[in-house]
Amino acid sequence: MDNHKNSLTDISYFPGCSLATSAKENNLSLLNLCRRLGFNPVELDDWNCCGSSSAHSIRSELADDLAARNLFLAPAGRPLLVACPSCMLRLRHMYIHLRDDEAARGYYEDKWNRSFDPNLNILHFFELLPEANLPNLAKDREHSLNGIRFVPYYGCMLARPPVMSREKNYYGLMEKILSSLGAEPLLWGYASRCCGTFLSVARPDVVRPMVNNIALGAKETGADCIVTACAMCHLNLEIRCDLREPVPIFHFSELLSLALGEDDHKGWFSRHIVDPEPLLRSKGLI
């Protein structure tokens, strides 16, 4: 790997609060993957919280300021990779606003004496994948994920406000990529059901039955596991499911890394609340 270092393309990287803390396993597997795909993620210097649901819920202008600061910190000429789907939405939403509204842009330019790159390319991790020839990178094509049966869980990452309705849509991407690596996607009705986000804290009574339904839906389909690309979905599905036999939930990046033969997974899987190791062992994946 080291001799490839020079050929890696630098990209800016916005980890967001979840990945920087509670979902470190997702962060590590994602960073590894980027390097395998030929990118060198450089953490956005002094990034701040995107505002999460709370800022736009009760103080819209604060949500704008928080998102804008990150965009103004991004060095021009480099794409900005965002790991978390909800940070992605907040940052892209603000980017569109700043790109199209000169007055708003001017306000921040004066405030910070920094400039905004109107061509900033804000990427979700998904967008790096179709270009890469993953089956070629995988150690042993076809068998690498050994037929593990999964249901894809996108949560609300496919839903957007109307101004963004013409943006790229990732529906089907996890199925396509993971099946090219030997996993078996199953169809189910909960792929884009919301995980409950912050109501998991303030109204667990509302979220628990929703999450249990999602887990039951996965079981009824005959899936071995649920795969999600969002750290918050991952956490909610793990902590709010109170079924006697919960379903293991993987971060999409974990299964990808596993298929590509990364071997530092020890640290990741032990951080799961629903232990996925028995499943992985039974499939001969670890």
């Binding site: 803390t21 509670s22 649901s53 819920s57």
Partner: protein, 193 residues
Amino acid sequence: MKKENYSDLGETIKSDDSDFQFASEVKKRSGTDFNMCYHCWCCTGGCPFSHAMDYTPNGIIRLVQFGLKRKALESSTIWLCVGCNTCSTVCPMRIDMSAIMDTMRQMALEEGISVAEPDILNFHKEVLHSIEHYGRTHKLEIMLRYKIRKRDWFSDMDVGLKMLAKRKLDLMPSKVNDIGEIRKFFTDVKHKT
């Protein structure tokens, strides 16, 4: 708590209750023309939380159209909406429901209207408090402070302990260096076009 049927809103509508300024204010602040809504109920069908709300999402639009400000701003719906955009994605008229709900929540706070879901508001406040102090969210502290406000130590203890054991709750916050820049967002008087 139980949902009233939007079509008659479960009661007689008295026009003296109406505040006709209200509709235009919501429209202006949210940047959304909800008069395009023809009450097809697609939003409500798609909303994962409509069963827990007192009014359905399109019921809220109805209240605004009728100028029933108090009812709308006192509803639990505006707090239970998480802004997931599921409704806007299926709305044939591309109505930005999440923007409408943001606007109404903020109007309710500005007008000092009693909040139907105080726990949800407290959670948002704790998140913002954390951002104000660190520039990022510090989950452990948010949870602890939320619990103190709620004076409820025991529910969710198991979940918290599991998260700690799995090192999902960092003890120390991750911080922004230039925290002054962040604090200013909280104190600045606003501008805006």
